[in-house]
Structure formats: structure tokens, C-alpha cells
């Protein structure tokens, strides 16, 4: 795997609390393949669940779409067009950003219009 090119895995999960564990297992298995340590996998699982759980409070019954981009030195998780109210200007913005930045090496939130946001979560391998 080159640092510049990456394998990608895309997942689409219904916005239903019960699927949080599917995401947790998925990220754990991707990260384990990449040789992440136990601690970092715990962080990844917690972060993905946090991003997910904060997403489905709106009335929109859409799906939770995300990509795992695997690099030789890091894992990037891209949550696509989330309508996370949490990243809007509410108190939860602070909460979720606080939690996510605490768990990840980098958190990048980009507005995509229409109250949708792309959230990029990066975890370095070492």
C-alpha cells in the first residue's frame, strides 16, 4: 500500500441505533487488518459510534454513508453528507467535536450545503 493510493471500503447503514455495533465491528476489523493497536482500535470504535449516534436525531430517515480509506500510515473515515445536527451550531457541536478530536488524530468537518456535512476522521497507525 502506498501512502498516496489507498484501498477503500464503502458502507451504508440505516440510521438505526442497532447498527452501531455493526459499524464498531467493521471498523475494528478494518483497523485490525491494518495492524492498529488495541488502544487505537478502541478509540476508532468509540469515535465511529459517537459519529453515528449523533447523526440520527433528525427527522430525515436517510442512511449513514461512510468510506474507510486505508493508507499505509493511517486510516481515514469519511462520513458523507451527514445531516448531523451535532455539527451544526448547537451545544452538541462542542460535545461531539470534543469527543471526536480526543479520540482521533484529526477531525475535519466540511459543510456540503443543505445542512449536510462531510466529516473526516483520521487515525494514524503509529
Amino acid at each position: 500500500m502506498d501512502k498516496t493510493t489507498s484501498d477503500s471500503i464503502s458502507l451504508s447503514v440505516p440510521l438505526n441505533e442497532n447498527y452501531a455495533s455493526v459499524l464498531r465491528l467493521a471498523v475494528a476489523s478494518v483497523a485490525a487488518r491494518m495492524n492498529f493497536t488495541w488502544d487505537k482500535i478502541e478509540d476508532l470504535k468509540m469515535a465511529i459510534a459517537e459519529a453515528f449516534l449523533l447523526s440520527f436525531r433528525s427527522d430525515d430517515n436517510s442512511e449513514f454513508n461512510l468510506d474507510f480509506n486505508l493508507f499505509s500510515d493511517r486510516l481515514e473515515i469519511l462520513v458523507k453528507k451527514s445531516n448531523v445536527e451535532a455539527v451544526q451550531d448547537s451545544m452538541e457541536k462542542k460535545y461531539s467535536v470534543f469527543i471526536l478530536t480526543g479520540l482521533m488524530d484529526k477531525v475535519d468537518i466540511k459543510p456540503k450545503g443543505n445542512n449536510k456535512y462531510d466529516i473526516k476522521l483520521v487515525k494514524n497507525l503509529w
Binding site: S21, K45, R57
Partner: protein, 262 residues
């Protein structure tokens, strides 16, 4: 001998035993009574068999209920001992499941693996001087990576030791909000701007506050926190997850309440 007669004789015999026991409190007689009614425990324990605990364990737990019932049974009440003992035994069994550490029934294989991982995590961390990878753990335990991942997720099923349980109130020196706010961290200040967040944190016990502080403000890893608080890594993970759940729920509730006011 007709069956009815046989039963009557048996009943008379046990009633005699009860009378003797209530006078003498002889353990020998109690043992005999317990033996006499073991079939009841077995019968009741079988009803809980499908919940994932081995039958022998259930019988053991149920026997404790039976002993209690023998101790408390009052012949004067004119009820059959079995009538009296059944709810006691069932109660003990139910309590057993309620107090069990595993909130969700998890296959025994995974429970055991989970415990093994819990044990070797510390060793491996020391040996490697870093948190181990999944395959390092798997190799050590001679299982597949997938099994380790599964067992890792399983630890979630461990029951939610109440955050305000003894662990939290254990003579820990008071760890107040001031410990958080005292940190001169830009991030922190913005984080605390919101009084609702502070409110949410204030309901946490000292251990949980410490966890949040170490993990998110000091940026320690779970392994480091485990060492600091002298608890297992898995416990750190569980408590942390639970703490985040509580905070999130609390905040959602407050936000909803705010909206209603508006």
C-alpha cells in the same frame, strides 16, 4: 402401598424433620431437608437453562435459595414447604441473573476469550511497551483475529456497573469540576462555555470524571489510564463508553427540554 399413603408418610417425616430442625438448628438435619428437596431446585433451575449459564451453576445458586427457605419455613403457617420454597428459589435464580456481570447473554466461549484477553493485555503491553495489535493477541491465545475482535466487542455486554456504585465513591479524593476548569486549555474553555455540558458532567462520579479528564483533556491512552487508576484496560473501555453514553443522553434530553420551552 398406595401412592397417597406414601406421600402422607413422606410429608409426616419431613414435617418431623422441620420440627426438629426448628428446635435444634442442627446442621445435620438441615442437610437432610435440603437433600430431600433438591429435586425442587433441579426442577426450577432447568427453567433457566436457556439463558446461557451451565445447569450445575444454576443448581448451586438455587440451592442457596433452598437453604434460605428451609431456615425460614414456619410449620405453623399450614402451607406446603414446596409452595413456600418455590418463590424463594426462583427469586435467588433471578437475582443471580440480574447481578451477573453479563447484562446480555454472551456465548461462554466468548466470555472466556474475553477474560483471557483481559488477562494477557497487561502482560503484552508491558512486554511490547505499547498496546498490542489484534494479531499479536490472537497469536498469543492461538485464536483467529476475528475471534479477538468479536470478544473485544463483547466486553460491551458486561453489565453496566452503575456509575455511582462503590467504585465511584471509593474513597477517591474528591475530583471536582474545578479540576477540569482549572486546566488552561483553549479547547477546554470552549467546551465548558456551555453550562449544560457542565451540568451533564456534574452527574458523573469521580472515577468517570477522571476518565474523561485523562482521556480527553490529558490525552492519555486507555492503557495509560488503566495503569493510573489501577483497573483493567477493558474496564477503562467499558466505563468510558458508558460515560459517553450518559453524557450524550443527558445532553439530548436537555436539548429536547430546551426546545419545548421555546
Amino acid at each position: 402401598m398406595p401412592k397417597k399413603n406414601q406421600n402422607a408418610i413422606k410429608k409426616e417425616r419431613t414435617n418431623n424433620l422441620f420440627r426438629k430442625y426448628q428446635k435444634s438448628h442442627s446442621l445435620e438435619i438441615r442437610d437432610r431437608l435440603v437433600e430431600e428437596y433438591m429435586y425442587l431446585v433441579e426442577f426450577l433451575a432447568k427453567r433457566f437453562k436457556s439463558r446461557g449459564e451451565p445447569l450445575e451453576d444454576l443448581i448451586q445458586v438455587g440451592t442457596i435459595g433452598l437453604i434460605k427457605a428451609v431456615d425460614r419455613f414456619d410449620l405453623g403457617r399450614q402451607v406446603e414447604f414446596t409452595t413456600y420454597a418455590t418463590p424463594t428459589i426462583v427469586g435467588t435464580l433471578k437475582r443471580h441473573f440480574r447481578d451477573q456481570k453479563w447484562a446480555i447473554r454472551v456465548p461462554r466461549r466468548l466470555q472466556e476469550l474475553n477474560q483471557q484477553i483481559n488477562e494477557i493485555l497487561g502482560n503484552l503491553t508491558q512486554k511490547l511497551r505499547r498496546s498490542p495489535t489484534i494479531s499479536e493477541i490472537a497469536k498469543q491465545l492461538k485464536v483467529s483475529d476475528e475471534e479477538v475482535i468479536e470478544a473485544m466487542e463483547t466486553s460491551k455486554a458486561y453489565s453496566l456497573i452503575s456509575l455511582d456504585s462503590e467504585r465511584s465513591s471509593e474513597n477517591d479524593e474528591e475530583f471536582s469540576l474545578m479540576d477540569f476548569i482549572g486546566e488552561e486549555d483553549k479547547h477546554l474553555i470552549s467546551f465548558y462555555e456551555r453550562s449544560s455540558m457542565v451540568n451533564a458532567i456534574s452527574i458523573l462520579g469521580p472515577t468517570e470524571k477522571k476518565l474523561l479528564f485523562f482521556r480527553f483533556i490529558k490525552g492519555l491512552t486507555q492503557t495509560e489510564i488503566a495503569q493510573k487508576l489501577n483497573i483493567s484496560q477493558m474496564h477503562v473501555s467499558r466505563l468510558l463508553r458508558r460515560t459517553l453514553d450518559i453524557l450524550r443522553q443527558r445532553m439530548l434530553a436537555e436539548e429536547a427540554a430546551d426546545r419545548e420551552v421555546e
